[in-house]
Symmetry: C2
Subunit: 326 residues, 2 copies
Amino acid sequence: MTEPTYDILGIGNAIVDVVARAEDSFLSRHDMHKGAMILIDAPTADSIYAAMPPGQESSGGSAANTCAVAAGLGAKVAYIGKVADDQLGAAFRHDIKAVGVHFPTAPLSGGAPTARCLILVTPDGQRTMNTFLGACVTLGEADVDPALVAASAVTYLEGYLFDPPEAQAAFRKAATAAHAAGRRVALSLSDAFCVNRHRAAFLDLVANHVDILFANETEITALYERNTFEEAAEAARKDIALAALTRSEAGSLIIQGTETVKIAAQPTKVVDTTGAGDAYAAGFLAGLTAGKPLAVCGQMGSIAASEIISHYGARPETDLRRLMPA
Amino acid sequence: MTEPTYDILGIGNAIVDVVARAEDSFLSRHDMHKGAMILIDAPTADSIYAAMPPGQESSGGSAANTCAVAAGLGAKVAYIGKVADDQLGAAFRHDIKAVGVHFPTAPLSGGAPTARCLILVTPDGQRTMNTFLGACVTLGEADVDPALVAASAVTYLEGYLFDPPEAQAAFRKAATAAHAAGRRVALSLSDAFCVNRHRAAFLDLVANHVDILFANETEITALYERNTFEEAAEAARKDIALAALTRSEAGSLIIQGTETVKIAAQPTKVVDTTGAGDAYAAGFLAGLTAGKPLAVCGQMGSIAASEIISHYGARPETDLRRLMPA
């Protein structure tokens, strides 16, 4: 097997975040479930946006955030995702290229605009997300270059990719190409509501096509329909080669065969939890592809997540390498 | 004279800021003068943007920032400025309307895109600005509704308006309409380089058409070509009815006829000075139009500025009214 050109290839929904601060009453007035991501159509996006406080636009997308953080940690990273050829798409492209991520996907021309996620951050730091998928729904098999997948040590897929129907085919094509080349496939479950929307497909994937799973407590219990984290974690142990399960301030649990590694959370002041899971996966995979032991991988994930939640926005504001263990 | 509908009508360049953190070496590599605003054409904007770190987009524009802060302080505010009918223009319109500012100006269709200001924030908190004026250059006399000017207690003009040539006519039309209705005209000098570009016009305006002047130390010494702040302040006293002169951490000086009021700066940790002067003018004018004494107006300006410089971005992140004197 040849040396990979990239440590991580992320595939996901290419989204620009519009972040605004809001009171809890705004969420209830607009029937939003705090902490969740829901999909909205264009008219709903327009009406929520019209009601929202002033926002700040910045590049987002779960796997894209992971790619940006991993690149900031020195990993060699590529990304596949679909923007439109509009102003927000240009900003997305600029931002991911500016951190050194290879981004070969052609933009969509003459169709839907670049995807937007309207994010309301409440005073407790929780983010509630309303995603208009726009151009993302046209990401398909043709956008996945098997040579790029084969040249990447880990292909990382976000669970949200199961929402736009064409992307599921892209997802399966990437997983097949990765395994054919002897590479690994990682999956993030993304969101408990997303798991509930696609449970059967996720269960099949996790058991048969995924080598590394990222999930938080609500996602893993939703996937296996268990009442406790411990039961769900044991189900994951039987199902998957390597799982990194996050529990917010309770840290994370890494499970690999009979091995279990407990990682403490990195204490920090929580300003905005947007991107916490994405950053954890980035730190973990940057460590893993650099050959670090699991305990160090988990610690790198925790430190990266703590930087992201200490400020607004899902991309790092400091040089993450300085925060990492030697 | 009828009661004004608006306390403040701002007229300025409607700009979306693209803010990125950068080292001092980035400024020197790109021949940028730290702390200054320069005008750039479209190709230069593209080449600087391509070299810039990842950015966050948010609504800016000097007078528009002032309007947003003043509205946040409870003032009744309107704004005139030209965006294009593109994604960034829609974000600008959303953000200023979301804080309650009346924004009647029709967007430009089929011409230049919405103006962008590429802002590099260095580790010392200073911002260096590169402005591509885009749609702003089409703001002209036709955009100034004399009835709106007449309905506003203070018409506030940013000095940057003298850069796009058509805007000078809009500027003069607004000043004439304001005085014809017995209202006041305020001017911010905006930037020492801007003053140097248009000194003769500014000297004429200040002496003959402006009632309230905002300037910082370098701007006021540039306007009157004096060596010291004290000499420049005395020149301003002879020239203008009311001047509020800011000196960063040394506070501000308010001059009205023989009266002089010294205001201390509000201590804070400086993260990003973008919008400090805009916020000072907002606090000052919100106080003035609410009938507060000059010392309170200056204090309101200082407090508003201190909130703005304590975080990235030129718009408030907290409820400013809670910070104000009773």
